[in-house]
Amino acid sequence: MTAAAVPAASPATTGEQSGVRMARSRRNAELSLLLLALVIVAAYGATVEATVLDTVTPDFWVPTAVLAAVFLALHVVIRFLAPFADPALLPAVALLNGIGVGFLRRLDLAKAAPGERESLAIFAGNGGRQFAWTLASVFLAAVLLALMRDHRSISRYAYTLGLAGIVLVMIPAVLPARYSEIYGAKLWIRVGGFSIQPGEFAKLALLVFFAYYLVRKREVLSLASHRVLGIDFPRGRDLGPVLAVWVLSVLVLVFEKDLGTSLLYFGMFVVTLYIATERVSWLLIGLILFFGGAYLAYVLGGVIGGPFENFHLRAEIWLDPFADPYEDGYQLVQGLLALGSGGLFGAGPGGGQPLEIPEVQNDFIFAGIGEEIGLFGLSALLVVYLLIVERGLRAALAVRDSFGKLLAGGLAFTLGLQVFVIVGGISKLIPLTGQTTPFLSAGGSSLMANWLLIAVLLRVSDGARRPLAGAGGSTARPGGGPPEQLHGAPTEVIRP
């Protein structure tokens, strides 16, 4: 860890040192951690079977073994394609994904008729579908690692991705409700029995664009003109892009009826803006704009209804879910009761009643799991999420180029923000919004998008920890030198 931090602090002077000190790829650490995660996943599966079926079936290990094969394959891919990638990321994500699949399978077991439980196929039900999505997602992550041999190479497609991101965000908003609306939020594209959440992918595309755009504009945006209360505020004409994204977020809020996604995009942008410009004023402007907008939407929803009505209702439920415990507040109430019933230690894997919560496999999976693993288990999951976020930020600190810093920092924070939005939502910390819980919730779009996010973080962390080409000699960087418009790390002025 410190090895990664040192060159980041003063990359210009530590090139030679880093060649020696960063030679350790830490792949064996990754392997041991991954095996540990798989043991936990296998133990979880066995406990679920013991509790739900009263016996551990002889092939309880099969789902874990298949997952193990997939994750180990990715591990091997990383060994070859990103040998210096952060060793904690893959095991942490594998643990979450494994628990998610295990919990979805546990739901399938509970739903199945008592006589059919023992013979429930691995690829049956939600658990099986999630299983298949995991295989596909990990495969895609490996493909992305193979194609993107240097994270800077994607900056070439920044404008294309930005446009694609906006289009992806807007598709559900403009589609008729029956193709896009599920439970009041228009976030999907539904064709036949198949639905994808384009917003999950848009998140990645937009972030690449933000990172690229801000690297180019950071000098302009950093210029201060007004100083109020010790804080530098930017020139009025530089507010343009922020306002544009703010408008985009509000449009999402209004047309897709989803505060969470809107908060996610806006938070993502403001944070990358802050990282790029180092101006606290941007954070303040962003927060004021967002909360002002949200409050305005709440008030408008109460007064004129219309497109703001859904948000107003959600806010009302958040303020007092027990006011209408059987109708509007039902899901949130049941989620809270599940968490409360779990208490400190939980009912044990398989020991709870997660099906009391409607649609527990989606937004409320954290509450369903929480009933069974308790506060201690959930705290452990939160720490694993936090670990992923902080390792992502560590990669951002260590990587030498601005684009990489913004990309990794933005992605890591976005992942954390998404966890905050959904877990905060189901635990009544903030109004509930339709977000998926990364790596846990049933749903291919979310799983795939987040695995791609992890692939990018792996790539950036590999770039950060890889010995400099000149020093090591053996690891010539594929994909050519940095894109011309990016100012490389050596010319970076790192503020204390």
């Binding site: 990282i275 968490l339 409360g340 601005s402």
Partner: protein, 501 residues
């Protein structure tokens, strides 16, 4: 750009810290509230995950649980059907629970604090923790006699109650309320079926869900004379003291004369207290009550247990089936002074005097037990799920001492005289010393009279073995005689039951 990145890292930690703090709030601080919330269906499913313990009496399971294979794993069944319904109550899925099922719920469900050792042990041995078993004091034979006696009563009464208590301990030997109900449909896992069954019972005109033995209050009629006689005995009147009687007596302030049930009863100017009780002389007791004064009558009734509204019948500690308070009512004129007319009527158990069958049995029981009234109880023992350990064994406890030993002895002789020579002959049991007092209470201008009998039986060694109260609501003519007959059958069954209960 590293400084803001580090700050973003701190922001992420703060956000997760908020999540963590909030989860602590929900899963630790609010956990108990949420776990037991009315909206929480888990409480119920979890309750049915564990095999609920039995409720038993005399070695027979009266309430038991059998496995269903459904979402709710165990179905509660009551093999005794209607016979034990008012004692056991019922434990439905969505409706409220009642009876012993309610008051001993924690122990039966296995969630009681007392059973924590068992739960921990089973956690290690892997056994399934069941609920504990509740053993009742009921005597199967006495309960059969009470249930059949009421159901087949010869005066055609539709409503009534019978309760038998062991005078020495307070253990309830029989408790029946008529009409009864079948608790099995109420505990159906099909909530529509259960609700329909409940609504039907709840709307039935005779109120089958009501436990008349503990909570129906009716004018006790002449059975109340035992209370007045007790007050008289303590105020200088002996059992052979002559008291004024007559075929009719009009209280000083009222034009309505008090008469006797038949012209043959105490037409003499004076009768002994013994004869007044034996014959159930209304005019004698009306004058006796007025002479004693309202305060003494009320105080004696209170000492027998009237006015107590917090008595429960279950374990001998907290909790148990609730009972209604018996009342002597107002005996005052509007100006606050004693109204002799009201007092005269109250002294023969009319006017505003109201008594529960339980209170009647307690009066008879305290007379039989030498003046000591034992606290009634239904729960004899709480047994661990594996039946090895006992968590509670009833230790009989005196509730109060309404009368002294000599007064109790006089009252006993008078009540025995009632059964041997007077209105309570139907209660006679060959070879046993039985005492009692009948009561016929006017229920209203248009409705038939209520028939009462309170009584007791002594075994051959001179020990009181059973004290009974039978009440037949709106039974009409012959009601108290029929009540006495049923009471005799119940006491006979209680005597015959091996081991008493």
């Amino acid at each position: 750009m590293n400084a803001p990145l580090r700050r973003v890292g701190v922001v992420a930690m703060v956000l997760f810290g908020l999540l963590f703090a909030n989860l602590n709030w929900i899963q630790a601080y609010k956990a108990d509230e949420y776990r037991g919330s009315d909206y929480n269906g888990r409480v119920q499913v979890a309750e049915y995950e564990r095999k609920r313990g039995n409720i038993e009496a005399g070695g027979t399971a009266l309430a038991t649980s059998k496995e269903t294979g459904g979402k709710l794993r165990f179905l509660r069944t009551y093999p005794g059907g209607e016979k034990y319904a008012h004692v056991l109550g019922y434990k439905p899925v969505t409706l409220g629970d009642t009876g012993i099922e309610r008051v001993e719920n924690d122990f039966l469900a296995g969630t009681s604090d007392a059973l924590i050792g068992n739960r921990i042990k089973d956690m290690f041995t892997g056994d399934e923790t069941g609920g504990g078993n509740v053993l009742l004091t009921l005597s199967k034979r006495a309960q059969d006699a009470a249930y059949n006696g009421l159901a087949d009563n010869k005066v055609g009464a539709k409503k009534g109650a019978a309760i038998a208590i062991d005078p020495r301990t307070g253990a309830v030997q029989a408790l029946v309320s008529m009409p009864s109900f079948n608790p099995n449909p109420l505990v159906s896992h099909d909530s529509n079926e259960a609700t329909a069954a409940y609504n039907k019972l709840d709307n039935a005109p005779d109120g089958p869900l009501k436990n008349r033995a503990l909570s129906e209050v009716l004018p006790p009629g002449s059975t109340f004379k035992i209370v007045v006689a007790a007050a008289a005995l303590e105020n200088g009147v002996g059992k052979n003291t002559e008291i004024p009687a007559g075929s009719s007596w009009t209280p000083p302030t009222s034009g309505t004369p008090i008469r006797n049930a038949a012209p043959s009863i105490c037409p003499e100017e004076q009768v002994t207290l013994l004869d007044a009780v034996t014959e159930s002389c209304n005019t004698g007791f009306a004058q006796l009550g007025v002479k004693l004064g309202a305060d003494k009558v009320k105080e004696k009734a209170r000492q027998f247990g009237f006015e107590q509204d917090d008595l429960t019948v279950g374990q001998l500690g907290e909790g148990g089936l609730p009972t209604a308070a018996s009342r002597t009512g107002t005996i005052e004129a509007p100006d606050g002074t004693t109204d002799p007319a009201a007092l005269a009527q109250s002294s023969i158990g009319q006017r505003d005097v109201r008594m529960t069958p339980l209170q009647g049995a307690l009066i008879a029981g305290s007379v039989a037990n030498g003046g000591s009234q034992m606290r009634p109880y239904l729960v004899r023992q709480l047994l661990a799920p594996d039946r090895t350990t006992s968590y509670y064994t009833a230790k009989p406890r005196e509730l109060r001492q309404p009368v002294s030993g000599p007064v109790a002895s006089d009252l006993r002789d008078m009540m025995v005289s009632v059964v041997e020579n007077g209105s309570g002959r139907n209660a006679k049991i060959d070879g046993y010393r039985v005492g009692g007092k009948t009561g016929t209470a006017q229920s209203g201008p248009q409705t038939p009279d209520h028939g009462w009998f309170i009584g007791f039986a002594f075994d051959k060694n001179g020990n009181p073995v059973s004290a009974v109260c039978v009440m037949l609501e709106e039974a009409g003519a012959g009601g108290s005689g029929e009540a006495a007959r049923i009471a005799g059958k119940i006491m006979q069954a209680a005597i015959a039951d091996p081991g008493g209960r």
